[in-house]
Assembly symmetry: C2
């Protein structure tokens, strides 16, 4: 559908996007779309609800009332400000679902509900908003989470940057599950669910005209089903964490500090795709500091490691799961990296902003 | 305390704000504070946690795990982008708590937990961030809600506008309570908790050099305790809604449409403070379209109205509660206003952005 003939919500096609009435008269976002009046209502009714699709509860009111949950609650929030909004393999809408679903999953929670809060810059094309909202709806559907309540604000053209999205997720933690960043113990084994760096490099590849020659696609994904398989082994999983901002380096250092253990990683055991290694070489970056949004680190008792790795490998998102290190009583709170030459160096956490924001 | 002598979190005083080590070396926000590395951790440890005070759960991790709640869940989200951040009677930190707590309260929920997600513009003074976070923590403490999980992103100086805050709230709805925007019935009575317009006018008074000569202070407040008193009367409260963006006009029109009833308001019955009326006259605004954050509209069965009004008046935040209209079978989905002269006119919802953003 390419013309301006959409006459109802049923005609919307956000992928080859035609703006529906009555939004067609304003092909870009204007301040009035955030004013709480009729234009705000139009945006929800004619753009967000059709774009979100079956993942949305139809009311999307100021507050959602939901059934009494059957366990401890998990709550997680994240605001996504990724630049650019669109990148190979996804867009900010996918990330806004996967990022928050994954934070819940890293607490061992089964995700149930998401709130979505958009901040739109005036002048953003409605088609971009539609594409992002559609991606968000589809990602929520794939993840099996409901979009239950939302908010939209519009800011001056100079004040915003296209689209920011906050998602806050509610999940339920099964009885007996106790996964926390401070539960790593000496002797525990460190697992990684697969190759690192693809998401961060994919986002960087479309920033600022950087062209690596090869096309790297983001591997952004929701990991809660993989986590459920790991939990189903019956292993006492101590720690789960997704290495997002700051990459594996930042995350593993956080865990070492939180648990008060030393962690020794084996450089050669950490899978880094060739195109990620090449791009990092070109840009002078450390692949261990590149962000991910579709990978997880797990710390498990040594005697459970084989069973957990096997369970992960049976799942599509853990097919290349592997052991990358272990926890030790030596050098508490410090992470070391054993290099291919047999030397060992300290692996520091990155200090500030090493990479373009990718989540 | 005015010097740069703060040596630990215990020395912080955000009101006369001295920046703690190690943030003192960066008196403004820089991109690295959002990078997920050591600077991000410093910001949480040395600014947000001390500023939030006793309202914060100490961990503030990626996901919070919380006890199994004792009822249906209510979930609400709101992003606050108010300009300017500081205004007479409050700042964006107070609003970020009260706005979301009130959205929960309007579903009849008892608020329990808030997530807080900050988007900071690079270059924002740390003292401003500290003042906002302190106000947020104090408002949460007053409201009795816990800050359980958070997120911080930093955007380029040109992309953001000081501080945006998303709060998402989780509450519990008591058994038997069923408060929804579509439950207004013909014959029901419309109640208002007090004078309107103070918050919106207070924010406008410090925008763009507007000076009204008189000082108007925001009446922003969390209304859940007032709501609890109303519910405690045993009345079957049909609808609650806080007239925020778009004011009473937008809100009451939404309710008329949602419930399919006509609503007739009596102009003279709606309390408008003199200074609000004066400022609106000066600016050519309709007080009914000015935003509030500390007032509520209620729609209740006629035979319960007296008891509910009496209960409201016993509470500090409802001392001036009054009847302002009723629902009718005539003109369904349309709101009319009976003027002082005895004429009746249609009260339309505002279309877009009538006022500066005030929430």
């Amino acid at each position: 559908m390419s013309g301006g003939t959409a006459m109802s919500g049923n005609d919307l096609d956000f992928e080859g996007w035609t703006c529906p009435l009555p939004l067609r008269d304003t092909p870009t976002v204007v301040l009035g779309h955030g004013g709480g009046g009729a234009m705000s209502a139009d945006l929800v009714e004619h753009l967000f609800l059709p774009a979100f699709g079956s993942a949305a509860r139809a009311e999307l009111g100021d507050a959602a009332v939901l059934p009494r949950p059957g366990g401890r609650l998990a709550l997680s929030t994240d605001t996504f400000v990724v630049k650019p909004m669109f990148f190979p393999g996804g867009n900010i809408g996918d990330l806004a679902v996967n990022g928050t679903v994954n934070d819940l999953a890293m607490a061992g929670a089964h995700p149930l509900y998401l709130s979505t809060a958009f901040v739109l810059a005036e002048g953003t094309p409605m088609t971009d908003v539609g594409r992002v909202a559609t991606a968000l709806g589809k990602a929520a559907e794939r993840a099996g989470v409901q979009l239950v309540t939302g908010d939209t604000k519009v800011v001056d053209h100079d004040s915003g940057d296209g689209v920011y999205i906050n998602t806050t997720g509610v999940g339920v933690v099964p009885d007996g599950v106790d996964i926390r960043p401070d539960r790593a113990r000496p002797g525990d084994v460190v697992l990684l669910s697969g190759p690192i760096g693809l998401h961060g490099i994919a986002v960087m590849s479309v920033r600022d005209g950087i062209d690596f020659g090869t096309r790297v696609e983001s591997d952004t994904a929701s990991l809660h089903e993989l986590v459920a398989e790991m939990i189903a082994t019956g292993a006492d999983i101590h720690v789960l964490r997704d290495p997002t901002r700051g990459g594996v380096s930042a995350t593993i250092n956080e865990l070492a500090r939180a648990s008060g253990v030393g962690i020794e990683l084996i450089d050669r055991a950490i899978p880094v795709p060739g195109e990620v290694r090449d791009a990092c070489g070109l840009l002078g970056l450390d692949p261990l500091q590149v962000a991910n949004e579709g990978k997880l680190l797990a710390i498990v008792p040594a005697d459970a490691a084989d069973a957990v790795v096997a369970a992960m490998r049976r799942h599509r998102l853990g097919a290349q799961a592997c052991v990358i290190g272990h926890c030790t009583v030596e050098h508490p709170q410090v992470v070391t990296l054993r290099t291919g030459l047999g030397a060992t160096r300290v692996l520091d956490a990155p200090i500030g902003e090493q990479l373009p924001r990718i989540c």
